[in-house]
């Protein structure tokens, strides 16, 4: 099957060249998804299906067009290739358009363990059992947990093939599976939900239903009967989950696309100190078994590790071939796209290097402050760095988590927030392609009563 997909991708690129393209790149993916949702101990949804798709991007000199289809018959592919060529003719020449430099093409040679047979082997009944158990544990955790939005077990098996007219052909398979639960806690007039989830590329690395259920229940319970605090400026600790969200905003600011357009507050700051010395941020697509890893990026460029911020100094932007060419730099292997279109920039494993102190230590050092467990509608303005987000969490009093807080906002500017990263905890876990330990930011504005 896979051999066929590689041949299909090579043939599509070749066909584009026959029809007048000067360069072509073709991506084909196929995948099988499974999900089961349990709610109040009963199966609610069971979904299972497979799908395939192909996309091509062609260059005709400095013109580019692209096209995508789910029809992988010979006729479907021919229509796709011709469509992309027709589209190229309506674009305008872009002197920077092109495929990557041939010397950048290649693949990371060590097995990245992105696919594990264990995921293909699990039975539907077992998956239903895992979700049922996670919900059961959450519901049994406390009498105040009387309802649930459900628990789910998902799995995915996929394959991605890429070929271009420079002779690069590559393929990799991926697997993933995960468990999550969303309990609802109720007391007096207060109703709150929270979730916990765990996913991995191999079955044995997913947290147990007991762990997932227990943590979800704990999180929902501690939110009950929240207060709305007065408007004030205080230190803020982002727990690991919300710190990851903040790091996602920072990613947008080092994306080469935002840099060449001057649409990032970090444009022109390469080599400058832009953050506290405690902060080192890495992007690494070569870490085995993680969600941000791949042997090559979506343009066929070898994956690698890039130091983005080192002890507060901006060392590198994250780039694909196009943004690198625009900036007179070299690609960092961060090209990312669906099946077609010009590649954007995406993260490998983009993470904050762990500190040495525990999260509890960080909390213990704060007299009055806010521990953020949920961001709602987080909006960072990448252009200016202005940051304002709805938030919920726990109030810190004299070094301890004192009571839940909600319906407030936290605001600041990423430029100052980066300079004000005072402490970094040791709890770095790679739960998605963006990861961060808990972070303590010296001061932010809380809007409340």
């Amino acid at each position: 099957m896979s051999e066929n997909l590689q041949e299909m991708a090579i043939a599509a690129s070749r066909r584009a060249m026959e029809l007048g393209a000067t360069g072509a790149e073709c991506t084909i993916s196929e995948g099988e998804e499974f999900s089961v949702n349990i709610r109040m101990r009963e199966v609610e949804n069971l979904k299972q299906a497979g799908s395939r798709g192909a996309g091509i991007r062609v260059l005709v000199g400095n013109l580019t067009g692209s096209s995508r289809t789910s029809d992988l018959t010979a006729q479907g592919i021919e229509t796709m290739v011709r469509g992309a060529l027709d589209l190229a003719r309506i674009t305008t020449p872009d002197p920077h358009a092109g495929l990557p430099d041939p010397s950048d093409l290649g693949r990371f040679s060590i097995d990245l363990k992105l696919y594990d047979d264990s995921v293909a082997g699990i039975e539907t009944e077992w998956k239903i059992g895992q979700a049922t158990r996670a919900e059961e544990v959450a519901l049994a955790a406390d009498p105040r947990i009387t309802n649930s939005e459900g628990a789910s077990f998902d799995s995915y098996l996929g394959s991605r093939v890429f070929a271009n007219s420079l002779g690069f052909t590559g393929e990799y398979r991926t697997s993933s599976c995960g468990l999550s639960v969303v309990p609802v806690a109720k007391q007096d007039g207060s109703m709150e939900r929270d979730y916990w989830s765990s996913s991995a590329r191999q079955v044995s690395r997913v947290e147990s239903p007991e762990e997932v259920g227990r943590r979800a229940a704990e999180r929902a319970l501690r939110r009950l009967n929240p207060r709305k605090v007065p408007t004030q400026k205080v230190p803020v600790i982002f727990e690991s989950r919300t710190a990851r969200n903040l790091l996602g905003d920072l990613f947008d600011a080092v994306d080469g696309g935002a840099i060449y357009r001057h649409a990032s507050f970090l444009a022109g700051k390469l080599g400058e100190k832009i953050a506290s010395e405690t902060l080192t941020i890495i992007d690494d697509a070569t870490m085995p078994g993680l969600f941000g890893s791949s042997p090559f990026d979506d343009e066929g460029v070898t994956s690698r590790r890039t130091v983005v911020i080192e002890r507060g100094v901006l060392k590198s932007y994250l780039l694909n071939a196009y943004t690198a060419r625009k900036l007179g730099l070299k690609t960092t292997g961060n090209a990312s796209r669906g099946l077609a279109g010009a590649a954007g920039v995406g993260p490998g494993n983009f993470y904050v290097e762990a500190g040495s102190r525990s999260e509890l230590d960080l909390i213990a050092g704060v007299r009055q402050g806010f521990y953020v467990t949920e961001l709602i509608g987080a909006s960072a303005n990448t252009v200016t760095g202005d940051y304002s987000s709805g938030a919920a969490g726990l109030w810190i009093e004299n070094g301890e988590l004192a009571y839940p807080v909600s319906e407030i906002t936290i605001a600041g500017n990423l430029k100052q927030m980066l300079m004000n990263v005072e402490q970094i905890a040791s709890n770095l876990e790679f739960r998605s392609s963006i990861a961060s330990p808990a972070l303590l930011i010296g001061e932010m504005t809380i809007s409340g009563q």
């Binding site: 009963e42 609610e44 949804n45 069971l46 979904k47 299972q48 299906a49 799908s51 798709g53 580019t64 067009g65 692209s66 995508r68 789910s70 029809d71 479907g76 796709m80 469509g83 992309a84 027709d86 589209l87 190229a88 309506i90 674009t91 020449p93 872009d94 358009a97 309802n147 109703m191 709150e192 939900r193 939110r223 709305k228 408007t231 357009r261 001057h262 077609a340 010009a342 709602i376 509608g377 909006s379 303005n381 200016t384 202005d386 304002s388 987000s389 709805g390 919920a392 909600s406 319906e407 407030i408 906002t409 605001a411 600041g412 500017n413 504005t445 809380i446 809007s447 409340g448 009563q449």
Partner: protein, 482 residues
């Protein structure tokens, strides 16, 4: 139109007998209900950046989704291959949800009545590429010409046609051909060597191409995006804390979408996890507020609003649903599953992103009816507050009821006048409480220009919102200024 005239008969040879056969296969292990959703989606998009038309894309996706419902359980499978063997295989996978003797499929189909909201002969998707590429070039030129401080412009245009065929085991058959077009312009402006600021504007709907030539032109969106970026150049820090907030007409209606709309979707209420659960008949807003969700709104000669549909994604005709009447909660948005379980009727609110997704209750076009007040009187009545003219997105936690939306163009109100523009800020409130503080409603109801996309459980669908000028006596503004 009969099945024989549809794209699915012409291209894939599908007959009513085939549909009955697939539905029988889906109910071969029992179940109360099964349905099929065939989809053929063609899209195209064009983008200009730095004055260069850098991208032109198109796509074709097709497939069928098969659903089996047994009590509260749903089995779902899909196939992107429309050959009879693959469809039957998917039907058998969906059937795994039920355990029992086969259920009987009603023989013969009845076509559901439907609206005719977008009867255009030629959709923008079928217009020439040259005409469409001209739209982004015009937008680029207009944004740059607006002010010399504009230095970056990105303009995008995208359109699609979705052909759908839906058939259910209780004999409902529907077809629809759903066009969509939208354009958006983002502009960056700066003073010489100053900090850049951005503005965004966009719109569209289920409209003909001449909507962009005569009604809302590329220049209209471009000037608005450039104007917003220029306004931001002189913006001061937004206030922090509780404030009087006046929402301008149109897109700020996203407040209704987040504050009440999601909380009234029947699935959340059936499960008792919404802050609005069990509150029908209760006062949840000021008596000045009447909130409607209406999937039948047409616009501009031969087209409709972005959130409108002839039939929902379960084949049920859309309708006008009163959610809140004079502040009293009246009803929920139902799909067929929730309606069946709550012994109610579908409100035509069953929607899905594509054939790969299970339908659920969703909004269409959500808006507040106009009131009596003069918008200028509303602003004059505020001694100190914030006026929000344009928003980015919003989000809600339906269980606690807390919602946010991001103001992207706002002004301070001082002594009854709009004074300085303020930087973007998030506003936060609580759904069942926030609208109780509405103290004035303007007579200037405006619907948004057609940019909204709503996300729920990973599924995106196009929606519309609208609101007149509204005064809210108390809301928390997430700025940084003391």
């Amino acid at each position: 139109m009969g099945l024989s005239a549809s794209l699915f008969a012409a291209k894939f040879g599908i007959t009513e007998r085939d549909l009955e056969g697939y539905l029988s296969e889906a109910l071969s292990a029992g179940g109360d209900y099964a349905d099929l959703y065939f989809e053929y989606l063609s899209t195209s998009s064009i983008g200009i950046d730095e004055g260069i038309v850098k991208s032109a894309n198109e796509s074709v996706t097709l497939g069928v989704g098969i659903r089996v419902i047994a009590g509260e359980r749903t089995g779902y499978a899909y196939s992107d291959d429309l050959s009879p063997e693959k469809i039957r295989k998917a039907a058998r996978v969906a059937a795994l949800i039920a355990h029992g003797p086969a259920s009987i499929v009603k023989t013969g189909f009845t076509q559901a009545l439907k609206h005719n909201l977008y009867p255009m002969v030629t959709s923008p998707h079928e217009a020439s590429l040259a005409e469409r590429v001209d739209l982004v070039k015009r937008a680029d030129a207009a944004a740059r010409a607006y002010d010399h401080r504009v230095f970056q412009v990105i303009a995008n245009y995208a359109d699609s046609v979705r052909e759908v065929l839906m058939a259910s085991s209780d004999g409902r058959l529907s077809f629809d051909r759903q066009p969509m077009a939208r354009m958006g312009v983002a502009a960056l402006a700066r003073e010489t060597d100053g900090v850049p600021q951005q503005g965004y504007s966009g719109g569209g709907g289920r409209v003909r191409l001449d909507f962009f030539l005569n009604e809302k032109t590329p220049e209209h969106f471009a000037k608005d995006a450039a104007r917003q970026a220029i306004v931001q150049l002189s913006a001061v820090d937004a206030p922090a804390g509780e404030s009087v907030v006046v929402l301008g007409p149109g897109w700020p209606g996203i407040l209704l979408h987040e504050a009440v709309g999601h909380g009234l979707e029947a699935d959340f209420n059936r499960k008792g996890v919404s802050a609005f659960s069990g509150r029908i008949g209760q006062q949840v807003a000021s008596p000045l507020c009447t909130v409607i969700d209406d999937g039948t709104i047409a616009q501009f000669g031969g087209g409709s609003r972005r959130g409108s549909l002839n039939v929902d994604d379960e084949g049920v005709p859309t309708q006008k649903n009163v959610l809140i009447e004079n502040g009293v909660l009246r009803g929920y948005l139902q799909d067929t599953l929730s309606a069946r379980l709550l012994k109610s009727a579908s409100t035509g609110s069953g929607r899905r992103e594509s054939y790969q997704h299970i339908p659920m209750p969703r909004m269409t076009n959500t808006y507040m009816l106009a009131g009596q007040s003069d918008p200028e009187d509303i602003i004059r009545s505020v001694s100190k507050g914030v006026y929000c003219a344009t928003f980015g997105g919003g989000q809600v936690d339906i269980t606690s009821g807390n919602f946010v939306f991001q103001a992207t163009e706002s002004y301070l109100i001082e002594n009854g006048k709009l004074t300085r523009p303020v930087k973007g800020a998030t506003l936060i409130g609580n759904g069942p409480e926030a609208l109780k503080y509405v103290s004035m409603v303007g007579h200037d109801l405006k619907l948004d220009e057609g940019v909204g996309t709503c996300g729920k459980e990973g599924q995106s669908v196009p929606v519309g919102v609208g609101i007149p000028t509204v005064k809210i006596d108390k809301m928390t503004v997430g700025g940084t200024a003391a």
